[in-house]
Symmetry: C2
């Protein structure tokens, strides 16, 4: 399967499109006919106060967020809430290099910032649904970056926020990690500075990306305890090949690079005059900062460091063997903890009111 | 500077050579005219019971072990002990691909095992000095792998052992990490499967190796706290370029690959009939397993896991901001802790006696 077949409703399930027109991005440049791919669950109530926004993480789509986090009896219960999952720009369902026409194609696609996603999502929620408040925004990893950006950029609109395993400002170590992820692809001579013919030409780079994500995404304990067995694989090599390479292999290298660089540059202070401490202090939402035990990508200490600067906030570590990629839902016990925290947060009165 | 200039006494300080002749290695193949580069400090006493053996880590030489760990008043005090630092095979001062003549040159150099080092070191100590006992063997990282191998292979010869930040058997995560280190070099088209003309032809691969080691060798906190400032650098980029790339850049890619693969295959059970638990249970030395806080390469939990299987052993975590590369001596407070543990260990009566 190559990128053209991969970025489809056949693979990711149905979704809707919101048209942004020509969308000027923060660093300069414009995405022509910019589109956000999104999906909603549940019903927007008359007061429009039951909205939960769910942004997506690196390489993910609305599908995994739905499968892992949305369901009856779950914190994200479509029987109670109007849940909007919006694919991040660059992910291939929302606008991305792989299918944007010349002369914005491939390496000519503009570099994005987390704030571009959040501005586009804001436009979708306000223009399409007339939404003024979020009961909750919750996202993991790059979804947490978007969650922080929402709470910092629209402080009067976000009642509750739950960034999971992510930061408001990329740490130096996280910056270096994302540099390594980029190098995985860019070191493949077939990448051709973004001007490859077919996405699968860059299969060696994509495989290295898969291996690097495998190293940093799971915890040492995940491998030590052969946790991949419970996921249905017969050997570590089988897991790396079928799960990790099978996952990244069909994706588009330029799409992935746009997202990785966006991740690397993540900083709620970008284009603001205040510093991180000041910016976090202005957040009005009730915030649950959730960090995952053994997370090598976003270590709990880095998450807690930011939580301490958010006025109305709590810090919780979720326990698991799996590390960062427990976000994928590999550990049911971990999902129970996340759900419990989100239910508590949703039951907490917000300071912001209509 | 290229590899030919780098692997010299001018760069690494004086050393002696022990000739092993043609040395058959465990996986098959032979190193012709095999040499161990070593250096001694202090005087071997008449009873020959004051010997401390210090193997080297990946990419290191006797020089850094001397500079960081040997000194008057230190645990490794040449006024009291006869300290023998032996460069590991493949490091470029001891036999290595870069200067072994055709047809054992470059990619034709045999793949090594940790047990090859330990057998060669055993030959040096017994044949050259007539040594029957080690008062202590202490090594960090790959030096810890050799320390475990010594204690397991020659249980009646090792009175005390202090493996620091290393394991007796490579964990799956560590295996994947070393795969990433290899990929850093091997992904450079200029590597030419080991048949490059000059080591510096592979400078892009060497740079990627430096970046990968930078990511995994230091802790997230090292970068968060700008610890590189105290080492004399003016920016993170300056540190990566002058310290990390400056360090690995002059080395020989094949030398590094031989060492990384040796690391990756590290396992005291290799060519034994017993399993890890049984092999560790047979160690007679008094063992202090030392692990470094925040170590991403050899996480303390993995070190403790093995310590629990060693009969006469203790587990100690040394505290530092720097992570694995605190081994380099970047944190004086960390060195004090290591010294204190080694002094305690040296003062502890050993079960093995003459």
């Amino acid at each position: 399967m190559d990128a053209k077949q991969y970025y489809t409703a056949e693979v990711h399930g149905d979704y809707q499109i919101f048209e942004l027109g020509d969308f000027a991005v923060a660093e300069g440049g414009t995405i022509p006919n910019c589109q956000l791919a999104y999906k909603t669950f549940g019903t927007l109530n008359v007061a429009k106060d039951n909205v939960i926004l769910v942004p997506t993480w690196f390489s993910g789509s609305h599908q995994i967020m739905q499968q892992v986090y949305v369901g009856e009896g779950r914190a994200l219960d479509p029987g109670k809430y109007f849940i909007v999952i919006i694919n991040q720009l660059g992910n291939g369902l929302s606008s991305a290099p792989h299918d944007t026409p010349f002369p914005r194609n491939q390496a000519n696609f503009p570099q994005l910032r987390i704030s571009d996603d959040v501005r586009a999502q804001h436009q979708l929620l306000t223009e399409l649904f007339g939404i003024d408040f979020l009961a909750l925004i919750v996202g993991g990893s790059m979804g947490a970056q978007q969650t922080y950006e929402w709470a910092a950029r629209y402080p009067d609109m976000v009642k509750r926020a739950a960034p999971i395993a992510g930061t408001a400002q990329v740490t130096p170590h996280n910056f270096l990690l994302t540099q390594g992820l980029q190098n995985s692809i860019m070191s493949d001579p077939a990448w051709l500075n973004g001007w490859y013919e077919k996405s699968t030409d860059v299969h060696i780079g994509l495989r290295r990306l898969a291996e690097h994500c495998n190293l940093m995404g799971w915890s040492p304990a995940f491998f030590k305890k052969d946790r991949w067995r419970t996921l249905g694989f017969t050997s570590l090599e089988d897991f790396i090949t079928r799960f990790m390479i099978g996952y990244f292999g069909p994706m588009d290298p330029n799409n992935l690079l746009v997202m990785i660089k966006k991740w690397q540059l993540g900083d709620i202070c970008y284009q603001r005059s205040d510093n991180l401490k000041e910016a976090l202090a202005k957040i009005k939402a009730k915030v649950f900062v959730l960090a995952i035990e053994g997370d090598l990508m976003f270590p709990p200490a880095d998450c807690e460091h930011e939580q301490l600067m958010i006025p109305d906030s709590e810090f919780h570590i979720t326990r698991t063997t799996d590390g960062h990629f427990a976000l994928f839902g590999t550990d049911p016990h971990h999902l129970e903890q996340v759900d419990a925290h989100l239910k508590t947060l949703l039951a907490t009165p917000a300071k912001i009111s209509i």
